[in-house]
């Protein structure tokens, strides 16, 4: 038991060291992640009400269309969004409800 | 054959949309799951990928299943892939059945029809799979010897490669000399090596190689046997005593390297045969090779050439409705690949050595695709060759010129000059005649080799098996397959050689065991099967001593059996059947297809 604890301690210290070494990278990744989380949440919140096209979503949540599409492709890949009917030259997207687990992702 | 219910695993492939765009794969899976005997039914984006194969292996290992059906593309593509996977799971590879739901379903049907047909095909495959039994491949001894048919550059190179691997080689050439088309060439595009030097280097090697036997001036009379044990009867031309020598060659593998010939324009094509000033590229290369010109202009038949016109794509890239087919109806729709570089190469030689000879090249597309070839085109421009471009439906016209200086006038609607009609006075017109395969239809039918619509020999698949025929043990290399330049033909030769070497290196070959098998108890020795057999030597009646009595019984030579089933069809006792394709299996398959349950 004691050795396990000792290993755990050693690992903890090592992780701390590693975090120190990669401080800048971690900070950058964290802020990227936070923005992504917020952006994707905005898309998903909007889609709770209705299915919509990329330009519609973009206009509503004030995000460039290319960025919206990038998120949409990603959310779709990980099974959180599904593609619906086409409206004009654009496809409508809606939430995958009930949100299936990611096992389905990218079959 | 045991009738006990087997546990079949069915694996259905999306083929990345190739199948799933038209077949509702998940619906098929739901239906399959309910079929009798099916233990598991699974789907995967690419069943042939590693995760797909792993799925099958796991199910086999865990004992969930003992028969496998994969529903995907044509079995010609991936049957071996899945058999190998089953082998890796420690099972017998012949407990496997394939349902083709791509070529036979998704590529030709849409919507519900497609989903229904896929279900039916899988039901039928499952019915068959239940009756599959483990089989052992047929092992035949293979003669460590290869026969190359054709002594051009591809044939010589194949022979050398195989011989240098320690396998004996016989090279057969119908003409009196080796070298094929290389004998007709001079400086080779794009780097300018002399064809004769290349040939000499190859000949030096091949003539000194102890493992290579060469027969020139001979004809192939017959080809028999099967992979590892082919037999070729050849006859040499009459010798001084007017005697034809007959030779039989026993060989393990055969490489077709029968090469190509130059297209001969029909009478009047671009004035060919009507005006002596119209010649072919082959003629021009011959003139350059002889090099009888002195001074600053190219001389042809003692005449100084001032303006020569070179016309590309003669006998190549022909279009139905625009070009005239040959007498046999053949239209060469393919690109001959080598002529652009060869023309530019000749132009550069002429412009460099004979600056007084002006050159006009009339082309459709300049196809200098290969390494060093675009530079050849660039160089031709630097050498002041004038290029003019015509459309396929507005070919240049050759007419008589009005001056004695220029006996011909070539008219062209030149798309580079804004589609204006242009006239070029010429005292020589050179036609870039393309490549046609040498006619080997007799050999091909003797050996049952496929020929494509372009009349070239046809490989199994350009990427999966580019140098192989469907007949195991027969390969192809060089321009009998498609137009190629010397380097490409040598690469093809290497590729064919590596396949032949791998095949023969073990000394034996394993063949699929889908051959006729006789039930000795049932066989009454009628001999109907022997009569029906399509492959001479595959079936015979032998006398068997059973408990002191001599009985006639049919015997199968497995290595020769085609597995065609002609014998099974005629046996009154149903004493002969095909392994893996038994009559009962057919019956069950038909039952599965006609039963209503499996389609929606």
């Amino acid at each position: 038991m004691k050795t396990i604890n000792k290993d755990k301690e050693a690992k903890k210290t090592a992780m701390k060291e590693l975090r120190g070494l990669r401080k800048n990278l971690i900070a950058a990744a964290s802020s990227t992640m936070k923005i992504q989380k917020k952006d994707m949440a905005a898309i998903k919140t909007f889609l709770k009400g209705e299915a919509a096209t990329i330009p519609e979503i973009s206009a509503r949540i004030d995000m460039p269309t290319d960025k919206t599409l990038w998120y949409m492709a990603t959310l779709k890949k990980y099974g959180q969004i599904i593609e619906g009917e086409k409206e004009g030259a654009f496809f409508k997207y809606s939430l995958n409800e009930p949100e299936k687990t990611q096992e389905k992702a990218e079959a | 054959m045991s009738e006990k219910n087997q546990n079949v695993g069915v694996y259905i492939c999306y083929c990345g949309g190739n199948i799933s765009d038209h077949v509702d794969v998940e619906e098929v899976r739901n239906r399959v799951e309910k079929m009798p005997g099916v233990a598991v039914a699974r789907t995967e984006m690419f069943m042939c990928s590693d995760p797909g194969q792993e799925m099958i292996i796991e199910d086999l290992k865990s004992g969930k299943i003992d028969r496998v059906v994969v529903a995907s593309c044509a079995p010609s593509l991936h049957e071996t892939t899945f058999r190998d996977a089953i082998k890796r799971a420690g099972s017998n590879p012949f407990i496997y059945e394939h349902a083709n739901i791509r070529e036979q379903v998704s590529w030709v049907h849409h919507g519900d029809t497609a989903t229904d047909k896929a279900s039916v095909l899988i039901a039928s495959a499952t019915a068959k799979a239940k009756l599959l039994k483990p089989l052992e491949p047929i092992r035949v001894e293979a003669k460590k010897h290869t026969t190359i048919i054709g002594g051009g550059v591809a044939g010589i190179k194949t022979a050398l490669d195989i011989a240098q691997k320690g396998i004996e080689v016989t090279l057969i050439e119908k003409s009196p000399v080796l070298g094929g088309q290389l004998n007709n060439l001079d400086r080779l595009a794009p780097f300018g090596e002399k064809a004769s030097d290349i040939l000499q280097e190859l000949l030096d090697q091949i003539l000194n190689h102890k493992g290579i036997t060469i027969h020139t001036d001979c004809k192939i009379e017959d080809v028999t046997g099967y992979v590892g044990n082919f037999s070729l009867d050849i006859v040499t031309k009459p010798d001084n005593n007017n005697i034809n020598k007959k030779i039989t060659i026993d060989t393990g593998a055969i490489v077709m390297a029968t090469g190509s010939v130059s297209y001969i324009p029909f009478d009047g094509e671009y004035g060919f045969g009507r005006h002596k000033e119209v010649i072919t590229l082959k003629d021009l290369i011959h003139i350059l090779k002889e090099n009888k010109s002195s001074g600053t202009a190219l001389e042809v038949n003692g005449k100084r050439i001032k303006n020569m016109v070179m016309i590309h794509c003669v006998g190549s890239r022909q279009i139905p409705g625009i070009h005239h087919p040959k007498e046999n109806g053949q239209l060469n729709e393919y690109c001959s690949r080598t002529c652009c570089a060869a023309m530019l190469n000749a132009s550069n030689q002429i412009r460099a050595n004979f600056p007084e000879t002006g050159i006009y090249e009339m082309y459709r597309d300049i196809r200098t695709y290969g390494r060093g070839q675009e530079e050849l085109y660039n160089q031709a421009s630097k050498n002041k060759v004038v290029f003019m471009r015509y459309d396929a439906d507005a070919q240049p016209e050759i007419t008589l010129g009005s001056s004695s200086d220029y006996p011909l006038l070539v008219k062209i609607k030149d798309s580079l000059t804004f589609n204006e009609q242009m006239e070029v006075p010429a005292d020589l017109v050179v036609l870039a005649t393309g490549i046609e395969p040498d006619d080997v239809s007799d050999l091909a039918s003797m050996m049952k080799l496929p020929i494509g619509t372009d009349k070239f020999l046809l490989e199994v698949h350009p990427k999966l098996r580019p140098v192989e025929f469907p007949i195991t043990g027969v390969f192809l290399a060089g321009t009998c397959q498609a137009p190629m330049d010397v380097g490409e033909a040598c690469n093809a030769a290497g590729a064919a050689a590596v396949k032949a070497s791998a095949l023969l290196s073990k000394g034996y070959i394993e063949l699929d065991p889908f051959v006729a098998q006789v039930d000795m108890d049932k066989c009454q020795g009628h001999g109907a099967c022997v009569e029906a057999c399509l492959k001479e030597g595959a079936l015979e009646l032998t006398e068997v001593n059973i408990e002191g009595k001599i009985h006639k019984k049919a015997r199968v030579t497995a290595a020769m059996c085609l597995g065609c089933g002609a014998c099974a069809a005629v046996c009154p006792e149903k004493a002969i059947d095909i392994n893996g394709w038994a009559l009962k299996q057919y019956e069950d398959m038909v039952d599965a297809i006609v039963s209503d349950g499996f389609a929606a």
Binding site: M15 | M45, E201, C335, R371, P466, C490, G494
Partner: protein, 435 residues
């Protein structure tokens, strides 16, 4: 870190694309022991990233995955993926003129033995990064398996974008995550080596005339392959700026080929055919779209290629003989191509929803200063006998195949790989006889 770890083989194949796989198979089938060293995390090279391939329109995966799988399971072949080749030269030590290569195994931060490829780490990872396997058009995670049919099925952790949050470690059912993994060096010795390092495309961002990659909806041909591929970023063809289904798609040929001012002076050999192929696939998935190919010469020279080209014309794909001089940003996300009307009627500017640049091919690997093998002025590896054996290099026992020796299509690459395997085998049986 110097390692004395030495692995011995008959042949070292550098590059695990289609050329390397075919070479390895052709050698392995003859009983030679082969090592395949690949810089990427998966074997399969460019081909596994393609949609369908000309002229048969087989899906690229259908041809590549079985070869990948065959290599991975071959008893005579060993794979080393995600590896850096540090040096490759004759082995000076001893009598033999064998090959010696120093290699670094890059850390995946995942234990390859423990990992079962379940992708739980990828699902829980909170950081999204542009998925370069998808031309950057969609995202993957900071730890992920490169693509669905990758071999091996091992994830890679991108430490540049990792927050060290520990979620993947928690999710991993087999304790395979190892944040402390270090690069490992090892040595491979072999009798022969085959260079099959393939090609790269010139970068759109370096092309001023076509907008330095800053004009929306101007993409390169490999990105279009992804849009058309079954696992593509959108699972259909949409234009990247706003997800519109394009109505008008243009191909710009010789974008950086046959043009020293823009890239390279040679012909990249495959662009005509893949543009025609993509155009055909597009007209299948977008039957109403206008598809135009701007070209200088159509180079459909291979077996069945010319017929393929004529079929495309018959299908209504438009071929315009012109070299696009420049591309500008048009209205509403369109890209505007400018070219000369060669019939003499002036200059045209045409708007397209999506423009695909058939970028030129350049070598995927520079031997300098890793290996003393020569390159030509075109920067591809020199073939010393382009007629009798195009796979021979100026280094004894070292051969080359595929696009490493100049742009080449898959058919020609596979044939050449067989030829390289043959030369390597001959070289080994020769030295066997001499010894």
């Amino acid at each position: 870190m110097v390692s004395t770890h030495i692995k011995n083989f008959d042949t070292l194949v550098v590059g695990g694309g289609i050329a390397g796989l075919q070479t390895a198979l052709d050698l392995g089938d003859q009983g030679y022991r082969v090592a395949v060293v690949e810089k990427d995390a998966s074997i399969g090279g460019k081909m596994i990233r393609l949609s369908k391939v000309f002229p048969t329109l087989d899906c690229a995966s259908c041809i590549t995955t079985p070869k990948m799988s065959a290599v991975a399971h071959h008893e005579n072949i060993t794979l080393f993926t995600y590896c850096e080749l540090n040096s490759l030269d004759h082995d000076g030590s001893g009598e033999s003129q064998g090959i010696k290569a120093l290699i670094t195994q890059n850390p995946r931060y995942v234990d390859p033995v423990k990992c079962i490829g379940c992708r739980q780490c990828e699902y829980v990872c909170p950081v999204h990064i542009p998925d370069m396997e998808q031309g950057g058009l969609s995202a993957t995670k900071a730890i992920s398996i490169p693509f669905s049919n990758a071999i091996p099925q091992l994830p890679i952790m991108d430490i540049e974008n990792c927050m060290l949050c520990g979620q993947c470690e928690k999710a991993c059912p087999t304790n395979a995550i190892d944040y402390f993994q270090k690069p490992e060096e090892f040595t491979i010795t072999a009798k022969t080596a085959v260079i099959t390092t393939g090609f790269d495309l010139l970068a759109v961002k370096d092309n001023v005339q076509y907008g330095n990659g800053r004009i929306p909806n101007v993409i390169d041909s490999l990105q279009m392959e992804r849009l058309l591929a079954p696992h593509g970023p959108y699972n259909r063809v949409l234009r990247p700026s706003d997800g519109m289904e394009p109505d008008s798609i243009a191909y710009v040929q010789c974008a950086g080929s046959r043009d020293k001012s823009m890239g390279v002076s040679y012909c990249s050999r495959v662009c005509c055919m893949y543009a025609i192929k993509q155009a055909m696939l597009l007209s299948g998935s977008l039957p109403l779209a206008d598809i135009i190919i701007y070209y200088m010469d159509i180079r459909a020279f291979g077996k069945g290629y010319e017929q393929f080209y004529q079929n495309a014309k018959a299908m209504g794909i438009e071929f315009v003989k012109a070299k696009v001089a420049r591309i500008d940003k048009g209205e509403n996300g369109s890209a505007q191509v400018r070219y000369e009307l060669q019939d003499g009627s002036g200059i045209a500017t045409t708007d397209h929803d999506l423009v695909v640049l058939s970028m030129g091919m350049v070598p995927g690997w520079n031997p300098e200063p890793i290996c003393p093998v020569s390159k030509d002025s075109d920067q591809f590896i020199t073939s010393i006998k382009p007629k009798i054996s195009p796979v021979l290099t100026n280094m004894d026992g070292l051969f080359v195949a595929g696009a490493a020796a100049g742009p080449k299509d898959i058919v020609d690459t596979i044939t050449e790989s067989g030829s390289a395997a043959m030369e390597a085998a001959k070289f080994m049986s020769k030295s066997l006889m001499e010894n």
